[in-house]
Subunit: 174 residues, 2 copies
């Protein structure tokens, strides 16, 4: 089975970086519990919104992101049985491209370069499964869409879900 796996909020904790940089710039530390059903840019004072939205366009934003709990162990096992491809809609953020590649080399060295995709819209990808945190990626995918739970997507009810990587093994015969 060919399974596409998104990076941010599925393998890499980019929300942690938003919170970290916001605290650096404005001295206020949000907790992820304060971001349920939304994103940091829409919780902060309105005059800070554009600054927060610009963070992922800056060099270094995607460097050294924390790994989502369980991602490495579970994806290594899934990779032994299935064709795991990493598919990140990274083209919006040109400075992310190299950092994402290096991040995969460091934390997921078992994902061969042939199985890495940095793209724009995911409607162009052909696979059996897409595991992703965003409705706008899942809704255009032609295979079986699975929503990986993140703070911003808890209100979506129309997808099969993975809430934590430990749930994924039995879903794919492991």
């Amino acid at each position: 089975m060919r399974i596409l796996v998104d990076m941010d909020e599925v393998m890499a904790d980019a929300i942690a970086r938003f919170i970290e940089w916001y605290e650096r710039d404005f001295g206020i530390k949000y907790k992820e519990e304060q971001l349920m059903g939304t994103k940091l840019a829409y919780v902060v004072p309105e005059q800070h919104r554009q600054t927060v939205l610009a963070y992922p366009h800056q060099p270094g934003f995607f460097k050294d992101l924390p790994v989502i709990d369980g991602a490495r162990e579970v994806l290594e096992q899934l990779n032994n049985r299935h064709e795991i491809y990493i598919a990140s809609a990274a083209m919006e953020f040109k400075h992310s491209l190299y950092d994402k590649y290096e991040w995969l080399d460091e934390h997921f060295p078992f994902i061969h370069w042939k199985r890495r995709i940095l793209c724009g819209d995911k409607s162009v990808l052909k696979a059996d499964v897409l595991i992703d945190d965003h409705d706008f990626n899942l809704s255009v995918f032609s295979g079986r869409p699975i929503m990986f739970t993140a703070s911003h997507n808890i209100h979506f009810t129309n997808y099969e879900r993975i809430n934590h990587w430990k749930e994924a093994l039995p879903m794919f015969d492991l």
Copy 2:
């Protein structure tokens, strides 16, 4: 119609860079006519082969490549009628990622980031057409494969071909 277009030897002249760097390093300037049916690495003295094969792994190799004749004008016209996606198997060369993005911004600014794909193997892409110079990309593609003629691929006889971009417009109703 969704048409995927490869970059190297289809939009960007990477062979010119191989020839340029080889002359810089070894003082001998090959002509593209000497590379028919093969590649520079297999024409140079055997003790230089590994050096030449390593060129695309070095920073700067993909920067400021010349544009293949006609590519810009024809792709701009095709892009007005069809869904043009750029699909480059760039993951083998991590230093190419940013340079390829910047190169598209400079020479093909009408290709939105949503329509840019940097990948490993092209079997994972879903589209009607793939225009590419390499058999290993065309042979795994599930749609209509079209070989873009390059010096190294002249001996392949099993593909529909585009020899020059000016031939492409009537093939796609333009």
